[in-house]
Symmetry: C2
Subunit: 144 residues, 2 copies
């Protein structure tokens, strides 16, 4: 995502406003590679703006997605995750046990459906998900 100042400009250009609530959520997303859920953003945002509501976090995150500043990921972990990295193409490794998400950079230029399949379907995006078990959950499994 763009730096906060740029996002502020882009908001204003649309007649939108930069509020303390938005500022905090945007701040939490800058350089954040944890793919946070809305709920996790909400919990963190409360530390700085205790009165913030979950609704506002949802709203902010949806607005940012409309602006192309973030991507909303539905990786089957029960709730949406926010990915501020829209600059560098990447994919994801998802822990089936705890739901943690990490980035994976791979080359997908050779990945394409058969010519036959493409005939009836206009592919706009290729998404690769590596499912598995993260180191943390592997270790927990050992001791359990």
């Amino acid at each position: 995502m763009n730096p906060t100042e740029v996002i502020t400009q882009r908001l204003r250009a649309q007649g939108l406003r930069l509020t303390p609530q938005k500022r905090v959520v945007i701040g939490l997303l800058q350089n954040n590679a944890t793919h946070p859920t809305v709920d996790s953003l909400y919990e963190n945002a409360r530390q700085e703006v205790p009165s913030i509501s979950r609704r506002t976090v949802y709203q902010t995150v949806n607005d940012l997605e409309s602006m192309g500043e973030v991507t909303l990921l539905d990786l089957g972990t029960g709730s949406v995750r926010v990915d501020p990295n829209v600059e560098h193409p990447h994919h994801h490794m998802i822990c089936s046990e705890c739901g943690v998400v990490r980035d994976a950079v791979i080359d997908v230029s050779a990945l394409t459906p058969s010519a036959r399949d493409r005939r009836d379907f206009d592919v706009t995006d290729v998404e690769v998900n590596f499912r598995g078990v993260c180191r943390n959950c592997q270790d927990n499994g050992k001791t359990a």
Copy 2:
């Protein structure tokens, strides 16, 4: 998934029973490449067993997944889809407009995270989703 007779045996072996409700749901899934939602299965099942409840369809589908007879797909279309094709590895093409899902057979043997990424993550499954617009929605868009 296995033929109904085999599934019946497998159910019995676990002390489970084959009821008319299960029979209908299993029947609807045989040779079904439409990746139906639970709701769509429910609507179709009602034609044969009007008294069937959504809960029973959920239950049946979850049981079948536990047995490895089907896969439950969460492709970000809002609700789970049931895929009875567990025999032939394949991936999916998902229409971003209407949510329809089609199979895509591709080779993913070369797809793997970097050695560094794999060090801390045990990959058990690679999932490729082609997002785009199906022919149907393309045509509708033209006339709209």
